[in-house]
Symmetry: C2
Subunit: 424 residues, 2 copies
């Protein structure tokens, strides 16, 4: 598909700074509030937010048959639930309204003053009511690194890994928006060769650089979503930091998987970049060998060339960029993940979160977690203030960023920024 709103030649009458993540070709959705008004839906354009409730009130969406006050909600779920036959035309219409040769909003000073809100006057909120949250494990380099460190370098990947987009259920309640500090978790850990576990603050707290897709629509329990149908159910993407406590995980995870090592918090960027805005960045993935089972076969390109970056900013110090990765470093793609999630008849809902798993490239400069970057703490990273990092320390802020760039257009995700506070 090609979308008019993606045309690289488009310019907006709203100022978009060079290197902004939010040119007119992006138009990601978020939920924001201001001093004057409670949470509602908007799209990002440059350093502003277009208040979609004002656009609807001003009758500028009239040809789209939207439900009344569909944007006047604290989450995007009802809007996303309308499906792509509605949400794609809405994005196209927003694009029209913001184009430099369109006067409908541009020339209406009164409406413009209400509808175009400087980002610094807004507070962003978690944009969705999360139904279920699945975390996949779909980067081959990451799975290989973990297998090499913890199991057997000669058989780093488990036998199922190239047959199954391995995933597990995570905790929906503790998904928070960028800017929400998290406390270092307490829990059980066991020292090397100790007979009994200890209890206390986790020592090995880590980030995991991930992308997440958010679903729209549902399937009935018992039905499956094929790889061909999956795209209809992928509304958009955010950056995702799947915080992990490595020492808690090591002790708890057999035989039923990670639990308290993960569910103390996961951080999401505030803007949902639509599947459509990412169209120009779709690329082919790696050849999958051995051949996958028929339900995992697909046609089309479902990998994305999106540069990803993680920085650590110690308290009162400069930020240090610790990795430069890319969303293309996936083995399994998003339509395979969703087809696998539902092949047994599991039902999805609007507002589910499906995270990629840690995204690591082949090279250490592109690894997606401190576990890998510091290779279990054996290769500490020097920080600008002279300190070292093997894992994340109290009052460190972890910042993830991502964007694609093509034909002079930069489609970005903003950032997910989280301070780790000491254990309570």
């Amino acid at each position: 598909m090609t979308y008019k709103a993606n045309n690289p030649a488009l310019k907006s009458w709203v100022e978009v700074p060079k290197d902004s993540d939010f040119p007119i070709q992006n138009l990601p959705y978020g939920i924001f509030s201001t001093a004057e008004k409670s949470a509602r839906a908007g799209v990002a354009i440059g350093n502003h937010i277009l208040d979609l409730t004002e656009i609807q009130s001003a009758q500028l969406f009239n040809d789209l048959n939207l439900p009344d006050r569909i944007f006047d909600k604290a989450v995007l779920n009802d809007f996303m639930d309308l499906g792509k036959k509605v949400t794609i035309p809405v994005r196209e219409r927003i694009s029209e309204l913001l184009q430099v040769d369109n006067q409908e909003l541009q020339s209406n000073d009164q409406l413009k003053a209400k509808a175009l809100i400087p980002m610094e006057k807004a507070t962003m909120h978690l944009p969705i009511q999360v139904g279920d949250y699945t975390d996949f494990y779909s980067s081959e380099s990451h799975a290989t690194n973990v297998g090499t460190m913890f199991r057997d370098p000669d058989n780093a990947l488990l036998p199922n890994w190239k047959h199954i987009p391995v995933g597990y259920h995570g905790r929906a309640s503790s998904i928070v928006i960028s800017g929400t500090p998290l406390h270092r978790p307490k829990g059980q850990t066991i020292a090397q060769d100790a007979e009994k576990p200890d209890f206390g603050p986790a020592k090995l707290v880590d980030f995991e650089l991930e992308m997440a897709f958010i679903t729209c629509g549902k399937n009935e329990l018992g039905d499956s979503i094929s790889t061909d149908e999956a795209e209809e159910h992928i509304f958009g993407f955010t950056l995702f930091n799947d915080w992990s406590a490595r020492d808690i995980q090591k002790w708890e995870y057999v035989p039923l998987g990670p639990f308290l090592a993960k569910n103390f918090g996961s951080s999401m960027s505030p803007w949902i970049v639509t599947m459509e805005a990412l169209e120009p960045f779709r690329i082919a993935g790696p050849k999958q060998e051995p051949e996958v089972l028929p339900y995992l076969k697909f046609t089309g390109d479902y990998h994305f060339d999106i540069d990803l970056q993680v920085g650590i900013k110690p308290k009162d110090s400069e930020e240090k960029v610790v990795t430069n990765s890319n969303f293309k470093y996936m083995y399994w793609n998003v339509v395979q993940q969703l087809a696998h999630q539902t092949v047994n008849g599991c039902n999805i809902n609007t507002g589910d979160v499906y995270a990629s798993g840690t995204i690591s490239g082949n090279d250490p400069s592109s690894y997606g977690s401190m576990l890998e970057i510091s290779w279990r703490g054996t290769k500490p990273v020097a920080m600008p203030d002279g300190s070292e990092r093997k894992f994340i320390q109290d009052h460190d802020t972890v910042i993830m960023r991502g964007h694609g760039e093509k034909d002079g257009v930069r489609i970005g995700f903003g950032e997910v920024r989280t301070e780790l506070l000491p254990a309570k």
Copy 2:
């Protein structure tokens, strides 16, 4: 605590058949609809449902300061969210209204006709909007049986098992109410010694006999709920069938735990029996050795003497009871489970589901799954129609029941009844 509503001497003016699960001392909450009116809250009494919306409309809850139309909802979450300071007095008030010497409702024929609905005229609905769902693994016999079959009979329990109430996140979307048929899941399985997996309907579909508790209230992310505080957050219990596909599970579960083997469906009984109604059945659990960490210590009794039973009814045949177990066969109790869930700061919400894990006693007649009852298929169970069962076959209906009995009072859960349909 003792509650007036639990007094074994109480009699109701509503007829309660002998062996009913729902005497006046129970009063479990559910959500039901009728031909005339959509889903709302009620309590079970004998073979009737007391429509709580009618009781509130008739001003009979007036001294309780309830929010308007709190029972006129499709789920119980808003009511449960009021907390025990409200929900306990509501139960006491309902008990008063149903007592044989109380005339407020008994003598009001017009109201009685509207408010007291025969169960056969009602359709039951899933009583909660499920937030998150955790499945524990807290029965020692079950964990020992599984470890013996799949790992090492001499070291059947993994090293963490007696230190951690092991649990993992399950799928909230596919929790369904009793009476909802489920389809046999399709998925990847691998034959013994095969190099590649196959795809098709799972062959080894099993029930897991569990109890689940439903939470009320929340903690802030970063805070913990102690074993002392946990009871305030346990609204009540249901029977829970954690359907499992053993052959899918075996291939998929390393290293991140069960996923598609479980999330095709979990079945819940319709009536939530309150923590307060179960007070008479609280008993001490087994001595926990080695000593648990301080955050898992507790005072009081949090095991429950509740008889549990599972029957399998093949199509066009009689039911065969395949196990008689008891909720007391737990190692970890419910306040330890909730304290563990939150010790890292994980936040809970009203309407979360925390299932016990399969409940097996020491004796094969009390095992809680076909995996254990048939010992991996080596000991098939004879059925009334002459067939055998190692696992569950298409069109089998699995029926779970549970009740406690003391001082002549039987507090029951009704049943969770699920037909397994062929794969779609």
